[in-house]
């Protein structure tokens, strides 16, 4: 069953457009949504949440139209942006006081337990918190109403590796429940390698691929050599080519090349770089 289903989503701005975006996020999985800055990750997420109005296309969450049943759907969604968009004068305690009136399933003890776990003083104002603390508060808010779906828009950007690891552990704990789903947008691909089941790559407003992470990492490989040596590679195996100071690199499809070629497993970051900067042969 799909938690999020997007078909032919279009959204245009004067200088940028999302074109023909289609992908599914299966229930019980973590989808890593990757792409360079300005590729369209946040725009897609905002369209899903109806914060931006789509031009056309179909978006369904838990099988319901995201606009027609917006209020009902949003009871089960927790959102974490790359900042904490609450007025700076508010304290954690005050945020809890009004948020618990907004969600039917708001769990005050859980909220305070998370604040305690993160060592956040509930009486501190938002403006007095460090960036890491703000993100932890944002995650506590997102978790406190027991969402089924977490939509995370760059939640770990600008955080140090220790805080990032702590936060990723929380998401992994959240995924212990089979009914839970995460759409995790990030350009920190190492985070996604840790927790994502599928990877959707967006580039210049278009989806390049949306694939199971393991399939992706096993299907593709990186070959390195000289331009002359590259002539030996079968044409159909070459997906993208990059020429550098130290030779030529090719992103190849493993199934088309013999084992005699020296290849290595790519990282998501390398896949991203090949698909955005590599030449098509």
């Amino acid at each position: 069953m799909t938690a999020i289903s997007i078909r032919n989503l279009h959204k245009s701005f004067p200088a940028f457009a999302l074109r023909n975006i289609s992908f599914d996020v299966q229930k019980g999985t973590v989808m890593g949504f990757v792409g360079e800055n300005g590729a369209g990750k946040s725009t897609t997420i905002k369209c899903i949440l109806n914060v931006l109005k789509k031009d056309r296309g179909l978006i369904e969450i838990f099988g319901h139209d995201h606009v027609e049943e917006e209020v009902k759907i949003k009871e089960d969604i927790g959102v974490v942006y790359d900042d904490l968009p609450f007025p700076e004068m508010l304290t954690g305690k005050e945020i809890e006081k009004f948020m618990h009136k907004l969600y039917k399933k708001w769990d005050s003890p859980l909220f305070y337990q998370l604040l305690n776990q993160f060592k956040i003083d509930p009486s501190k104002k938002v403006k007095e918190l460090s960036r890491g603390m703000k993100m932890k508060l944002s995650i506590s808010i997102a978790f406190a109403h027991h969402p089924k779906l977490l939509i995370l828009d760059e939640p770990t950007s600008g955080l140090d590796p220790i805080v990032r690891d702590e936060i990723l552990d929380l998401f992994l704990t959240f995924m212990q429940d089979d009914n839970h789903t995460i759409l995790f947008s990030s350009h920190i691909t190492s985070d996604l390698e840790k927790i994502a089941d599928t990877i959707t790559f967006i580039h210049e407003g278009e989806i390049v691929f949306s694939e199971n992470k393991d399939v992706l990492l096993y299907d593709y490989a990186i070959w390195k050599g000289s331009p002359d040596e590259m002539k030996d590679l079968p044409e159909e195996a070459i997906v993208r080519v990059r020429k550098g100071v130290f030779g030529t690199e090719a992103l190849v499809r493993k199934k088309y090349i013999s084992r005699i070629f020296p290849i290595k497993r790519p990282t998501i970051e390398e896949l991203m770089v090949f698909f955005t900067k590599g030449e098509i042969r």
Partner: protein, 211 residues
């Protein structure tokens, strides 16, 4: 909706504190210079201005992109701003009026009727100001919206001098004091109509607004 009003009240509480100190200062002035009705007028206008402050805080913190992920409709988000504006204008008047009346027991410089009619006129003015400013703030943002608000408040004041001059020149006379008083008492209720229309316009603007 209560949750959103509560959020705004928490967000502007710092501003409210400053407003309370300022009003205490005005209270002192009122006590020593016998300006009770002016204090109530200021309180009502302060209340109305806090609604605009809440828009500024929302914009600064990019609240709307989060507010729209909550299980609340866009209409309710706007309705909460209008409810907040009624609460703050009426609340300020209700808190300050008894205090000013208490002062007046000592000074006996104005009647309760006078204060009440003045209160009605200023509440009506506050409603009118909010009716215009809320849709403008939503459409153009708080930076441009403030300029517009400045124009909304000062252009009528500026032209009032001309109007009275022209009224005399063209032999237009004001209605009787009795009629003016009646109009004053009814003014806040009349102004609820533009406020309701303003809500519909704001809801329409916000329904297609993107963050």
């Amino acid at each position: 909706m209560i949750a959103l009003i509560l959020k705004d009240l928490y967000a502007i509480k710092g501003q409210m504190k400053s407003a309370v100190y300022l009003l205490l200062f005005f209270m002192l002035l009122a006590f020593f210079f016998d300006m009770g009705p002016v204090v109530v007028m200021c309180a009502v206008l302060f209340g109305a201005l806090q609604v605009i402050t809440s828009f500024t805080f929302d914009e600064m913190s990019k609240w709307d992109k989060y507010g729209l992920t909550l299980p609340v409709s866009r209409r309710k988000i706007i309705a909460s701003k209008y409810a907040l504006s009624l609460l703050l204008t009426m609340g300020s008047a209700l808190i300050l009026t008894p205090l000013v009346l208490l002062f007046n027991l000592y000074f006996k410089s104005f009647s309760a009727n006078e204060l009440f009619s003045m209160l009605c006129v200023i509440s009506a003015a506050a409603f009118l100001m909010l009716s215009v400013s809320i849709p403008v703030l939503l459409k153009f943002g708080t930076q441009k919206g403030r300029l517009f608000l400045f124009a909304v408040v000062f252009i009528p004041v500026f032209f009032s001098g001309f109007i009275s001059e022209y009224m005399e020149r063209f032999s237009i006379y004001l209605p009787s004091l009795q009629t003016i008083k009646l109009l004053a008492y009814g003014a806040p209720f009349f102004m609820l109509i533009p406020l309701a229309l303003s809500y519909l316009v704001s809801a329409k603007i916000y329904s297609s607004k993107e963050f």
